[in-house]
Symmetry: C2
Subunit: 354 residues, 2 copies
Amino acid sequence: MKNTYFTVGPSQLYPTVAKHVAVAMKQDVPSLNHRGKEFKEIYKHTSEMLRKLMDIPESHHIFFVASGHEGMERILMNTVHKHSFHLVSGAFSKKFYAQALALSKKPEKIEVPTGTGFDFAKIKIPKHAEVICITQNETSTGVRINMSDIYALKKRTPQALIAMDIVSSAPYVTIDFRHIDMAFFSVQKGFGLPSGLGILIVSNKAIKKTKLLAGKKMPIGGYHDFLSLHESVLTSQTPETPNILNIYLLGKVTQDLLQYGVEKMRKETEEKAKLLYDFFDKHPKYKPFVTKEHRSPTTLVIDTKGDTEKIVAKLAKKGYGVSKGYGDRNEDQIRIANFPAQTLKQVKTLLASF
Amino acid sequence: MKNTYFTVGPSQLYPTVAKHVAVAMKQDVPSLNHRGKEFKEIYKHTSEMLRKLMDIPESHHIFFVASGHEGMERILMNTVHKHSFHLVSGAFSKKFYAQALALSKKPEKIEVPTGTGFDFAKIKIPKHAEVICITQNETSTGVRINMSDIYALKKRTPQALIAMDIVSSAPYVTIDFRHIDMAFFSVQKGFGLPSGLGILIVSNKAIKKTKLLAGKKMPIGGYHDFLSLHESVLTSQTPETPNILNIYLLGKVTQDLLQYGVEKMRKETEEKAKLLYDFFDKHPKYKPFVTKEHRSPTTLVIDTKGDTEKIVAKLAKKGYGVSKGYGDRNEDQIRIANFPAQTLKQVKTLLASF
């Protein structure tokens, strides 16, 4: 029996991945020249499919990097001279802030207790903030930030660029990129692919900022700066030899998602999320960690009152994988992924196994 | 009919890769938690196999990164305060130098015309050079530097760290790591794997230098600095979610190479190289680009007198892939890979197709 993974990433592979891997191996995709015509076709196909699925306008470019972590680093090096501002509510927003410190920037932050959301009306962004870094979906705590709050924040601080971590909300999250300058995700979560590829979406406005920093002789990166990445996009290539197989697979799975229907996928994600949250809202012992208004539909965090080990072992026996709580919540929380790869039927049988 | 790839990377997959990919998919390797026990076992296995195959001592650590290009960047950010010194003889050694410039270092270089080697006795290393960057095997020109020359250089400049690009010579090249501080390669060349994984080998001495730079508040990286990478090694993890599938495959193929016999593989590489060079030395029109003493056994560059397009098309029809010349030699050179994945029999049939 194959296991079913509700882990928050790496997670369940999208159902068509095995087939696409087999075809790729048969067609020698891993042996293709990364400067050749066939790879360029793959590159273009994947970019086009992503543009369609996520409604990415021509004003924004799609860069292939190695991970979400790399996305954070490249954003900070390429668009922050000194001051980034971070909305911190969990481990991954903390990492974004920590990277800014490590890169000798002068980051500032507003921090709320894990599991709670931000009161956006009260957030004061300093005038000197160049980039506002927002973890739109916190994989560690299961808190999701509403896009409408982010758009409103952008409206009242138009001088700052907005950079969004959508690692565990893409492709479910609907984004109006007119208000968002940068966003990044990795493919082993919502896209249900093997890990080792990150996607970084960058606006012309952000690239203009990079040019300004480069003009000041700021180090913007050795090989993966926004200027070299942008230049490479124009010829459907990457500066280095990239993860060709994963770029191929991402194009195929994105095409499959488009054929399935993006609105259908979103509606089902919400149905599955409701089923899961309702179950735990009614559960005598295990309760959702996050208050209703801030709950993520894609990564759910449940308080287990110390039963995590027991639950994980019990589910594993039945062929289900869920994630333990993050960091110091390792023993008293579990995290459940609700990505396109996990079907409604699988959610039902998972809940029946509790 | 399956093609046979003599391209210099991505290249022919090692014969066992397809089987290992199938097993990995069956065993849900891409869905494994990158902080979990099973992944740690994979991590340890791959590291141990690499240590055995390449004779890497305990004084040196194995870091998993995304590419050879990333290897260059991390070395420069983590061990160069101001002054790197570069041996430049082709496109990839130029890239190493260019990355140092991009990172606001003050690199210096000695440059020789492409296709020629260095006269090591005459190389003067400035006293302030912190790291000497050497592209031991230039994929763009087919020039290989003898390890004995590098050891001698290290002996007379013990104050400098030695960083080696072995992207297209590993695992053939035999290295005495007592004289080498850092080396990096990517897996889509000599290891015959899908692209998207780089290996960076770093000595304790190099890490000591990183600590010095970190103490001076130099930016050493956002998430992939030598300190965080070293810390992660201690728990068999990576700072980010890595390319899990490729780390798994690298362990398996390295194990296969060990079982095959590393000395046998090296001997065969030399036999195949001799066959190839002899053929072109005797060819009426197409001649090896590099003089005998500097010729790479793993990446061969052949002058085609403008026939590249014709040769590539002719070989493609017969199911063989070779690389065109690099950059401005695109039309009058070809490059032929001689990695462990290309068998003696395949070399013979390739040559019979010319």
